[in-house]
Symmetry: C2
Subunit: 347 residues, 2 copies
Amino acid sequence: MANCSRARSLLSLMAIRSGASASSPLRQFCSSAALSKFGNVGFIGLGMMGSRMVNNLIKARYRVAVHDINYDVMKMFADRGVPTRETPFEIAESSDVVITMLPSSSHVFDVYTGKNGLLHGGNFLRPWLLIDSSTIDPQTSRKLSAIVSNCTLKGKKDDQRSPVMLDAPVSGGVLAAECGTLTFMVGGLEEAYLEAKQLLLSMGKNTIYCGGTANGSAAKICNNLAMAVSMLGVSEALALGQSLGITASTLTRVFNSSSARCWSSDTYNPVPGVMDCVPSSRNYEGGFASKLMAKDLSLAAASAKEVDLKCPLTFQAQEIYLELCKEGHEAKDFSSVFRHYYGGSDE
Amino acid sequence: MANCSRARSLLSLMAIRSGASASSPLRQFCSSAALSKFGNVGFIGLGMMGSRMVNNLIKARYRVAVHDINYDVMKMFADRGVPTRETPFEIAESSDVVITMLPSSSHVFDVYTGKNGLLHGGNFLRPWLLIDSSTIDPQTSRKLSAIVSNCTLKGKKDDQRSPVMLDAPVSGGVLAAECGTLTFMVGGLEEAYLEAKQLLLSMGKNTIYCGGTANGSAAKICNNLAMAVSMLGVSEALALGQSLGITASTLTRVFNSSSARCWSSDTYNPVPGVMDCVPSSRNYEGGFASKLMAKDLSLAAASAKEVDLKCPLTFQAQEIYLELCKEGHEAKDFSSVFRHYYGGSDE
């Protein structure tokens, strides 16, 4: 976890700095009363996504305390006057709601149930609501939700309300996290979702209630598998078209006015030069890393195996992205599959 | 070819009848002077697509003569006062431009080069422009184009102009053919494309010039392979989501507001009940048959092999559609892959 967080920290510094600049003086915002019923928000996981989400919470005048295992990132927030906590448990102790934004299922499980974790191995919780925005497998979301709902709220022995966990992964990537235009896919109790909606909308532009526990996580991995398969289909089609003598720009125009139209062709085209302001036009830098896509496809493939569903394209997509990572392109945007796997030439 | 045409004929009768009703009295239209430089249009292939395209040519007041090997279909047109010809060669002899809309590469090759074919095995042609709107492999388009351009125009010995073939396959399906809203993807000489544009727009709403010879055919098979892969990705994702407990409607809403958005999710959703007026909501009747998708994927796969390009998802998609056909679903719309291959349940 340390290495992972260390790798994220450098990239996070820019976000933290830009956040400080955009909402300065932050100290003043941090001490402002939040508009929501959640007076104190705890946030765990200050990576590329999380640090930007915190910035937007602060802009929306929530009182936020943060935690990350990376000391440098924590210090950056502390220097801006944002309260920091040494452990997830300390976050839980001082918050009405806790949001986690972590790299994988095991990180989330550890932050919830580990030593000095949110639940501190015990049965009592201060925050009645825990929101996990990480992209993790639905099985882990379901397991953690059950553990959380078996806890009792501290100091409210007579209150019948149980703590609640919502799985609320996001779509939109780093830029959307920065601009506060994320979409949250939320699974869990609908009542809790409705109470959390205002809080989520301070970091995003849209929330979609997906039904019961773990349905947010399920929606996210299903979305990403469909996106990956689409990207691969568009990449194969554009590579084949170029080999047959038709330019990617022309072929993209055909797709976008026809039945091959998709986000990977009209918004995030994988061929350099076809669109401005997308990773393919800046050497596949930024965006959504291939290693993250490989991870999401692994979650989808594992889920498909668990429910005994044949998903040949999902498995094939997973293999392709694992191969891409092995070949050293794991940090490149996932649209780089066009160049590095299909060997497409530039226009 | 006879069987194939026979199978199409019954379905064509409705189109012919509706055409007669929509533009009656047709006899008057047929004898009207056409607005374009192409006074006499020959049309070969009166299947589900072709018969509807002819109706729109007639509505636009072109003088059209038609040919099909199916006598019943020919008779229906003759009864409406549309001139019919016994052979492709007779069509060529009476036309300034000939449009073909046939089921496969071999049909097109035969109509062009066979006994009593358009070229009549000779070197002289009356029409200076031949337009093939069939979906065929780029190799055949290229070969036929070369043969055509080596012919000499009849009675124009001093004219330097050579006959020209355009490959101009369409997207949009039967409904678009009926409504005149097809999109033509055109390969060949740009000058010829510009001269043909008005004619094409009488059957469609859009034309896209794709570059040199065979680029229209290439664009079409690339579009359809990307569409097939997208449909399979969306189907796997929706089937997986349902297995994990999330409804297809909710998941579709997630996709359409996120990065999995595509034509197969927002316009042609494969799950019954999610959208009105799509094949999945009428037991996968109508639309684009799985056997046609299997054929197009075979063309794409063959082209990929020829240019030595790895296209694993294309090959996998081809296998899935061939399997679907073997299982007896060849006449169902290609979105039926959701139910028949992935075994998705209704909502």
